[in-house]
């Protein structure tokens, strides 16, 4: 069993990075403190390199060995996705936390006091949360899954609270924390019921029990169903899926843009991955396996509600972060289509979509993070009017990322959505896809405002006072994201191939491994 620790090397790297950040953050040297983003960046890059080294054909045997997980190769995809988006997020964060305090120190008005600084722990939390996300993908049992999800979430509560010295940030943190705790209780109770129904915490064993029971009695039993439903509903909080999506607008609005960018991606990805894993206990990754109807119906209803409520909620908003929050809710709905579509095409689509959404989301918030009115953030969407007159680059970045989030060809978002739709159609959920299509059209309404106001609108007196932030990190992130949104479709095939590898089930991976062994040893 211990050889499985091999797969945790990337997570260890990130953990080490996090600890380093926490330590370096209290350094007296300004240069060291300033280098924290670079440390985080390097950590992520090393984690990426480690992941490609860890998930190699040679380690396949360990992956399929004892203590196997339902999706043994998932980390191979999730870690690069997390790293790509993580790197972009690091750029967005760069220079933001503790800005005024550092300014005071630089001006000689204050002396450095390790108690007053929070930069170190901010980056540490940032990396810890990412680490949690990576760990989620590797979860073999419920305990691990629980801990990984908590590791993903807990730092974000702190990040929201310390993101800016504003009442709204604290309100957001409060709501986020308390509602988060509620959701944790819900899915934990679900876990308890699952455990009660099967007598094991390990996902694979649990699957075996449930499959055997379904073969005997025709169903997995109401206790297991109830446990699954509760788990799904609890995890829906992480995903910001209806009906547990309500916190998202408030929290996203309250947190600083930089943190919102983070919140838009990391917990959501964790939720999606956790859903994929927890649903594996129904045995639907096996040949001929399918979701029990109550689960399917619940997911279906959640998907429809999530995308619809998200999109129509966004229509009414005048504050841009709140609007983007609703938009991120709707994206959870689209992601649920992929989950419903199931192992194979559906999961591939989810992973590609997570990447597309993560980049697009980061790009919009990167633009918002690059702008300020006085010392405050950009609040109203009308503040973006006529942005191109002063900052054409940011205006274009906003438009392109909105286009990608809308799913407009040929940007990356389109391909993500297309794969989701294809998976949906292929799994027989045409109606769901049509509903998603209608929702896309509804979303065009507000995304177009994000395109139209910066590019075609005329600057108003309100928007005239919008200026660019002095530090370039977010701008760089916006530029990088936009480039990725435009160019990544060219790599779509390899992205799909990687994702397809990533979602190979244990049996499939075993077959692959055996055929590789056969190739290496030239066996018949």
């Amino acid at each position: 069993m211990t050889e499985r620790l091999w797969f945790l090397i990337p997570e260890f790297v990130v953990l080490v990075g996090a600890v380093s950040c926490a330590i370096l953050g209290v350094s007296r040297s300004v240069t060291v403190r300033r280098s924290l983003p670079i440390v985080a960046f390097i950590t992520l890059i090393i984690a990426f390199l480690a992941s490609s080294y860890v998930y190699s054909p040679a380690s396949m045997e360990i992956a399929i060995g004892p203590g196997a997980v339902p999706l043994p190769w998932l980390g191979r995809v999730v870690i690069p996705v997390v790293v790509i988006v993580g790197v972009l997020l690091v750029m967005v964060q760069a220079g933001f936390i503790d800005r005024s305090y550092e300014g005071e120190i630089a001006a000689g008005e204050a002396r450095f006091n390790p108690l007053r600084t929070s930069r170190g722990e901010y980056y540490a939390f940032f990396l810890l949360s990412l680490c949690g996300l990576m760990l989620t993908a590797a979860a073999p049992d419920l305990v691990w899954l629980f801990l990984a999800l908590e590791l993903t979430s807990l730092p974000t509560y702190v990040m929201v609270a310390i993101s800016r010295n504003d009442r709204r940030a604290q309100e957001a943190a409060m709501k986020y924390f308390f509602l988060g705790a509620l959701s944790v209780a819900i899915f934990l109770f679900g876990f308890a019921l699952l455990y009660g129904a099967t007598g094991t915490m390990e996902l694979m064993a649990m699957k075996d029990v449930l499959v055997a029971r379904a073969a005997d009695t025709g169903s997995i039993g109401s206790l297991a169903t109830l446990g699954l439903l509760l788990s799904i509903l609890g995890i829906a909080f992480k995903l910001a899926a209806a009906p547990l999506h309500l916190y998202a607008p408030d929290v996203y609005e309250g947190a600083a843009s930089q943190v919102t960018a983070f919140l838009g991606f990391v917990p959501k990805a964790g939720g999606a991955i956790a859903l994929m894993l927890i649903l594996s206990v129904t045995g639907w990754m096996d040949d001929g396996g399918m979701l029990p109807d109550p689960i399917l119906v619940t997911l279906w209803v959640m998907a429809v509600l999530t995308m619809t409520l998200g999109n129509i909620g966004a229509l009414l908003q005048t504050r841009i972060k709140r609007m983007l929050a609703y938009s991120s809710i709707s994206h959870s709905g689209y992601i649920l289509i992929g989950i419903i579509a199931g192992p194979g095409a559906g999961f591939v689509a989810v992973l590609v979509y997570l990447l597309a959404y993560g980049i697009g989301n980061t790009a919009t918030f990167a633009v918002l993070s690059s702008l300020r009115r006085g010392d405050c953030e950009v609040e109203s969407i009308d503040d973006l009017a006529g942005l191109r007159e002063k900052h054409p680059g940011l205006a274009w970045a906003m438009a392109i990322s909105a286009g990608s989030l809308l799913g407009f060809p040929p940007l990356l978002g389109f391909w993500g959505k297309l794969l989701l739709f294809i998976a949906g159609v292929a799994s027989g959920h045409l109606v769901l896809v049509v509903i998603a299509g209608v929702n896309s059209a509804i979303s065009a309404w507000y995304y177009l405002r994000m395109v139209a106001l910066p590019l075609t609108g005329a600057a108003s007196s309100a928007s005239g006072s919008i200026e660019r932030r002095e530090y370039g990190g977010p701008r760089l992130a916006a530029l990088a994201s936009v480039v990725l949104l435009i160019l990544l479709p060219l790599l779509l095939q390899s992205m799909m191939d990687e994702s397809a590898d990533g979602v190979l089930s244990l049996e499939e991976l075993t077959e692959v491994q055996q055929s590789q062994v056969a190739a290496v040893y030239d066996l018949p």
Partner: protein, 730 residues
């Protein structure tokens, strides 16, 4: 199969391919294309003149020369002509083939079909066109350098389109000419485009014609779907194949003549589509003479003559034509009696005379109709041109009450006397050309059997009297009596000082004299011997008609020809044989008609002379008396207001459509776009607003909604599981 399918007659799929037609394909006659080409060349040159702002009479010279060339070509073509007909391919237009069968190709090329009918028409069209162009070269002088080139370009377009219409070898090219002459008419009526009345008249002409064109288009569709071709020679072949053809049954063959009729009525200004023609007088007078009197308006006659076989298949259509023609003749004559504008009187007389021609077609005398077209072309052009000369000379004055004694004025003699000749011909004064041509129609109304044809005949005779009256009302008022005039309100060059009428000069006078001679000489063909079949009556014109599809309408032509196999029964009944030939006052109708119509004409003439020359005050007294008697006052009033037909159309068609347009527009903006599209677009926002309270702000309220939502889902699932709605899965 939908019921619609059954409207198309069943065709045996093994219908034989179209047999080779009896028309000769004569590519070596392609020089005949000059008739079409020359006006086109002239059009281009006139266009160049316009672009280069030429200020001389060059455009007129070019046009006259090219039209003369076309006329000469037509004459040569006539001299080279050999029956039964020749097809001259010029240029491909539409050739579609998608299979081997009869209904698997569609061909309509720019090819000429030369038979005597088209030759008859093309010769007088180009001939009159040339003369009128010469006349116009002087008439349009005031516009030199302004619209002069545009005018002659329009004339060229017209001649091209008319030639295409007459010479085409298929219905589609005919349609091209048909719309082309309508367009030329639009162009030329709207020549004074800064005058709102002219623009309105032009538009009206085009649109009313379009309604007719619609009929023609539908007829073409029907003909193709029924017969699989729109080419005359192939159609003739099909007709020649006799009555065994399955095509000759079903509703299509009955509908075709009515649709064609609609087209003809539109173009030739018959009831109910005649309203555009009087308004068309807003155009320059040469245009009125050329297009709206002599040539274009006879296209309807030509069309029916050309497609006469279809009409013979459906006797009712001929009856309708006869009645419409007769009624139009009467109605237009009554309106003509009450007008004061001499050009308008001539316009209504044109409508009336066209009515005669249709009457002729309806009572199975295509020859009479064609002959009347021929003579009418001369004398009506002459009359219009004299009106034009007067208008030109008196600054646009056209009111017959304001000009008098023209024949006494210096320089106006030729105008006055040529007008007299024209009037005599129009009135059907014995031995003029109009006398013979009208008789050919009138008599046949008594010969041919048909519903109420005899009444129709008497009505037509009565109309002839009215015609004589209003024609000479003009002449006696304008040309006879004491010399006096009031100038019109048109700006002329010599403003300042007293107004002097411009007497017409050489070009106008020459044309007037030539046309006057023509009006008289046009009687001669009636007495020329028949070359084709000496059993025929009617001379040269009958000869010309004989070699055409219209030969079914030549009196006395009873040759049992395969072409008429279908029509025979009807024709035999109609013409009822020589033995049972009806009589009129104990005489042969043709002979009797000489006397009757002559007498009626003279009576009308004398009445006009009494009221408008000798006792002009009596006319006014009668009119005043008529207006004062309430029981009869409506009659002259209605006559003066053209029987309220324009108002009728306005109220029944135009206004409702206009209102409908507005309703649609409002519907489009507020119902479809506003309520439906925008309304649907508003639904998401509405729902969102309705759901907004869920996001109430306090953490508990969020928790309630979240926990409540989760609980609802759990409960629903539990219920579903309980009731086993998920099959055996749980």
């Amino acid at each position: 199969m939908t019921p619609i399918l059954t409207f198309i007659p069943k065709l045996s799929m093994s219908a034989p391919a179209v047999p080779v037609s009896d028309a000769i394909i004569s590519p070596n006659l392609s020089w005949a294309g000059l008739i079409l080409l020359l006006p086109l060349v002239s059009l281009v040159l006139c266009g160049l003149c316009a672009a280069m702002r030429v200020k001389s009479k060059l455009p007129a010279v070019i046009t006259a020369a090219s039209l003369a060339g076309a006329f000469v070509t037509s004459v040569f073509l006539y001299l080279n002509y050999e029956p039964p007909g020749e097809v001259i391919p010029l240029l491909d237009w539409m050739n579609l083939t998608w299979g081997e069968g009869r209904f698997e190709s569609f061909t309509a090329n720019f090819s000429l079909y030369i038979d005597s009918l088209s030759l008859l028409w093309i010769m007088f069209v180009t001939g009159l066109g040339t003369l009128i162009t010469i006349y116009a070269s002087e008439y349009m002088e005031p516009d030199l350098g302004k619209g002069y080139s545009r005018f002659f370009a329009g004339v060229s377009v017209f001649l091209f389109a008319m030639a295409a219409l007459v010479l085409s070898d298929n219905l589609l090219m005919l349609y091209l000419g048909w719309e082309g002459v309508g367009f030329a008419s639009y162009w030329l009526i709207g020549y004074y485009f800064e005058r709102p009345a002219a623009v309105a008249a032009a538009k009206k002409a085009f649109i009313v014609n379009r309604i007719g064109d619609l009929g023609l288009a539908l007829a073409i569709y029907l003909i193709w779907t029924t017969f699989g071709t729109v080419q005359y020679d192939e159609l003739s072949t099909i007709f020649a194949a006799g009555s065994m053809n399955p095509e000759f049954e079903g509703w299509t063959t009955s509908a075709i003549p009515f649709l064609l009729m609609l087209a003809a009525f539109g173009k030739s200004a018959q009831l109910p589509l005649y309203v555009w023609l009087p308004d068309a007088m807003e155009g320059p007078t040469p245009v009125s003479a050329l297009i709206h009197a002599a040539t274009m308006v006879t296209a309807g006659i030509y069309l029916i003559a050309r497609t006469y076989q279809f009409f013979l298949l459906e006797p009712v259509s001929l009856h309708v034509i006869a009645w419409v023609g007769g009624l139009t003749a009467l109605l237009a004559a009554t309106i003509g009696m009450a007008q004061h504008d001499i050009k308008r009187i001539m316009a209504y007389s044109t409508v009336s005379q066209l009515g005669y021609m249709f009457l002729g077609l309806g009572v199975l005398t295509t020859y009479g109709a064609a002959y009347h077209v021929f003579t009418h072309a001369f004398f009506k052009a002459l009359l219009f041109l004299t009106c034009g000369a007067i208008m030109h000379g008196f600054a646009g004055q056209l009111d017959l009450r304001k000009i008098s004694g023209l024949r006494h004025m210096k320089g106006w003699r030729i105008t006055a006397w040529t007008m007299l000749i024209g009037c005599l011909a129009l009135a059907g004064f014995p031995l003029t050309s109009g006398f013979f041509s009208k008789d050919a129609i009138l008599a046949e109304a008594f010969v041919t059997q048909g519903p109420g044809f005899e009444i129709l005949g008497w009505m037509a005779i009565f109309t002839a009297g009215l015609t004589a009256y209003y024609t000479f009302r003009v002449w006696f008022r304008v040309c006879a009596g004491p010399a006096s005039f009031e100038p019109g309100d048109e700006q002329h060059d010599d403003h300042g000082g007293a107004f002097h009428p411009h007497a017409p000069r050489f070009a106008i006078n020459m044309v007037l004299v030539l046309l006057a001679v023509g009006s008289l000489v046009a009687a001669v063909p009636y007495f020329m011997s028949n070359q084709a079949d000496d059993r025929l009556v009617g001379g040269w014109v009958a000869d010309m008609v004989h070699d055409s599809p219209a030969r079914g309408g030549i009196p006395g032509f009873s040759e049992t020809h395969a072409v008429h196999a279908i029509a025979d029964s009807h024709e035999a009944a109609a013409h009822a044989g020589e033995a049972a030939h009806p009589t009129l006052f104990g005489m042969d109708p043709h002979a009797a008609m000489y006397w009757i119509s002559g007498t009626v004409g003279i009576v009308g003439l004398l009445l006009a002379a009494w009221l408008h020359l000798w006792r002009r005050s009596a006319a006014d007294a009668i009119k005043a008396w008529l207006y004062s008697q309430f029981w009869i006052a409506w009659l002259p009033r209605a006559m003066e207001r053209k029987w309220y037909v324009d108002e009728f159309y306005h109220a029944v068609i135009r206004a409702p459509l206009w209102i409908l347009g507005h309703i649609f527009y409002v519907f489009d903006r507020f119902i479809i776009d506003g309520v439906c599209v925008d309304g649907i677009a508003r639904i998401p926002r509405g729902v969102a607003r309705w759901l907004q309270p869920l996001q109430a702000g306090a953490v508990q309220s969020l928790a309630v909604v979240m926990a409540g939502g989760a609980a609802i889902i759990l409960l629903l699932m539990a219920l579903f599981m309980q009731f086993g709605w998920f099959g055996g899965q749980v």
